[in-house]
Amino acid sequence: MQSKISCFNKTIFKKNLTRFWPFAVLYGVYLMMVHPMVMYLEISNNMQNGMDTKPWQVVGDHFTGMTEPVSVFLVAIVIAAAVFGYLYQSRSANMIHAFPVTRTELFVTNYLSGLALMAIPQLLAALATNLVILGKANSMIWAVWTWFGITFGETIFFFGFACFIVMFTGQLLAAGLFYMIWNFLYVASVMLINAVGELMIYGLSGALISAISHPLFPVAYLLRKVGFYMDGSTQIYHVQGISTLLIYAGVGLILTAFAWYIYQKRRIECAGDFLSMKWTMPVFRWGTAIVVGAAGALCWTYLTGEYTSQNRMVTKFVIFLVICSAVLFFVAEMFIEKSFRVLKKRIAMECVSCVAVLLIGVGLLQLDVFGIESYVPQTEEIRQVALSGNGNVSFEDASDVEQVRALHKLIVDHRKDQKAQMRNGAMEQAAVVGDVDGSASAENAYYYDYIGITYTLNNGKNVSRSYQIVTNDTSFKELLTAQCEGLFNDPEALKRSYFGMNYKELNWQLIGAGVDHARVDERGEYFYDSDPVYGSQEDLQKLFDAVLADFDAGAFSDYGWNGASEVSATMNLTLRTDHKREEIRFASDGGYMSYFDGEELPNGTQVYSSLYLTDRCTNIINALIELGEIESADDLRVPEGDDVIYEKY
């Protein structure tokens, strides 16, 4: 005899709500404080202080800056651990599963009650915010309910995810730990791979930014991609990322289905164990040994690696990796077994296998079996390439791209010599740096520079390399300089890096400028002062023409230039174009606008850039004199009395 199929139990649902209401109340209080209360205060302050901002703008701005994914992320695991917490103690697990209810009924009821514990405070906060807006702004009501919809969608994702984690862990500590691990796993793995890659592969450089905004890092991705924004051109608020939200909510439901499936298979006798599913145990052991072991070995290597050559650091890293991963393999097993007595033959053999796999992986990287070190993209694959070193330059033309590829190949072909020089030179350098009586010689120490190459491929992907170039080898240096000079000194390439790849189409207008230069105060101490440039739009445009003229004259083309400059100042430019931000094609490596994102204006975009002024910037200096900003080039010099003449960086 089988009972009728039931998926919901009213009694359990009610019991969950009456047991765990304090969590909902705390969450509700938080939401009430950050939404209706803050909005009430913002609108009231705005009205009392007679500010220009309209109440609807206050409402829009409030929701634009919302950070709900963070709170939903945290609350979800707390609620999931509460409603399914009976699985973590054998006493409660045995009793609950002896009751005449199926696991499906338990799961669905607990899931819905957990969802209710999160959604009810959200709904109440939305209602209260609605009332505040009705009373104070009477506008943008749709934003409140859109916020509620977005937050609820995020709740479905994070709560489903939390339930999934709870189902394959056997104790509260493990649930919290794995929830955090899985959320940050992608970004941590990318960081780790980059760090190991940088250590072991000549020229590899990190790409953390892309990892942070990756869908596998849900909190950060939802924060960036889903929410409100204001269209600068129309001053109207819009919602972005609804399709992203729906995908996440769908994934949340899939994870919930997985959680239900795992619950069906879950061994109740695992209550209190670290992990509930047997197949996850080796995954945990190996994962801990590889990921945490590699991270530990890296930290250890860098903490003890000062003045050590890259090759010596790789050797140290490999030794530390073996130690860390082996130790952590057993530590993971201790968590699983809840015992210190884990030194068993089977585990020891598994540990040896794990370490062997790691060593093979390291060996493959070192031998460049995957061709990462020697990789140079094909010309037809490349859309754009940026070169950095003594200046930033960007290219799109096939012939220019081919020249950069030739430079890249030259470096790659000389990598063995370069690494050998670093190994030999670093030992000497270490001795010199560690020398306290000054008896050692730095003759063999190596001196280096950097060259960075960033390709943007036709498929949208970026390939970045950053090379440490040993400049002691004069023959190689000459060869490299010959290749670099033409590229770094190309005025057009420099302008593209400063003002965008399509700067000619953008018709930049200079709408503001300022000059930062050194001054001496009455106590004789240096400080940097910033003077705005005053003038009409026509005057500013003349100044901008002078800037472009100095670019064309090679004032900023400084590869191989080792001259000293008495002029030392920075000029800040505020530029405006009628084109939208997405129409500006920034250089692959961001160029000189990399630190300043373009600001969307009602009818265009505003960007910022800055230039380092030297004696060679004659057109700019003359324009500044004409504008009355300075009397002569001396005003841009480091003040008298100082013995230091600024060397070009």
Binding site: M1, Q2, K15, R19, R91, M95, F99, P100, I268, E269
Partner: protein
């Protein structure tokens, strides 16, 4: 009522239940005894549908128990270590049981209040003593109107008066409703008074499973004295144990008391007495040297 066939359960390489067979007849009060670690609680968790066996069948009324709420609604289970929700009082738990068990009798709950005068129904159950918590568990379980009561060390931690009262409630329930009772304990003396069937477990197996009357009829204790040395006993009489004090010989014989008496009488003893055996003695002599651990727990 309960039929367990060839059940195997392993925990990380340790075999907790080893091809276990067990049968609890309907209406019986079945005592499950065994030393610590024998697997009593493990098999009870299979019977209650908490654990899933690796092999074999666990059926109640001919139906699998696991994930079957209709079957689970037929029994009430009182574990050794009872669970109550945090902050819950007896009334809260009664409401919960009422929502979970379809046959829960709220009127009976009120009627039984007099049997548990020491239980403050408005007080948090977790703040009550272990004995009080057990009383609440019995109170709630009986009100579920179960066809089967499954009790794991039920009166452990209770004072003698309360033990008697609990057993009285159980016996009344059995008498009135024909409830089947499965009770696990390591207190043989207590089980002897209430059980009509007994199963003894060791190392994940049921070693002996019989009705109490069958057990009592299977072993006989005889005291006999002879003029000289004890003569050779007739063929077919199996002596499980023998002690001699002076000319008096105490024999534990396999077989029914009447048969044993007749066989001994044929040896012309000066004195012959057939004495009753306690359940404890029966187990000791039945098991003989089967397992030292079993003897340990019996003494």
């Amino acid at each position: 009522m309960i039929r367990i066939t060839d059940v195997v359960k392993d925990f990380d390489g340790f075999r907790a239940l080893n091809h276990l067979d067990m049968h609890v007849p309907k209406g019986a009060i079945y005592g499950l005894v065994g030393p610590n670690g024998a697997g009593k609680s493990t098999i009870i968790r299979h019977i209650t549908g908490v654990y899933k066996q690796d092999q074999g069948e666990v059926k109640i009324d001919g139906t699998d128990v696991y994930e079957n709420p209709a079957v689970k609604a037929k029994f009430a289970y009182i574990p050794d270590d009872i669970f109550y929700f945090t902050q819950a009082n007896t009334i809260d738990m009664m409401k919960y049981y009422k929502g979970i068990y379809p046959k829960f009798d709220a009127e009976l709950f009120s009627a039984l209040a007099d049997c548990f005068p020491a239980v403050d129904v408005r007080r948090n159950i977790r703040s009550l003593s272990k004995g009080m918590q057990k009383q609440v568990a019995f109170w709630l379980s009986v009100c579920c109107r179960p066809e089967l009561l499954i009790l794991d060390e039920p009166v452990d931690g209770l004072d003698p008066v309360m033990r008697r009262q609990i057993w009285s409630i159980i016996m009344n329930d059995v008498a009135e409703h024909g409830t089947t009772v499965l009770v696990s304990s390591h207190n043989l003396r207590e089980l002897e008074d209430v059980c009509d069937h007994v199963g003894i477990m060791n190392e994940g197996k049921i070693l002996i499973e019989k009705s109490l009357s069958d057990l009592q009829g299977s072993v006989t204790k005889v005291q006999a004295a002879f003029a000289g040395d004890m003569p050779k006993l007739p063929d077919g009489i199996q002596v499980l144990h023998k002690t001699t004090t002076g000319r008096v010989h105490t024999l534990i014989l396999k077989g029914e008391p009447k048969e044993a008496e007749a066989a001994m009488a044929a040896t012309n003893p000066l004195l012959l007495d057939v004495l009753p055996l306690t359940l404890e003695e029966i187990f000791i002599y039945e098991l003989g040297g089967v397992d030292y651990a079993v003897k340990d727990f019996l003494f």
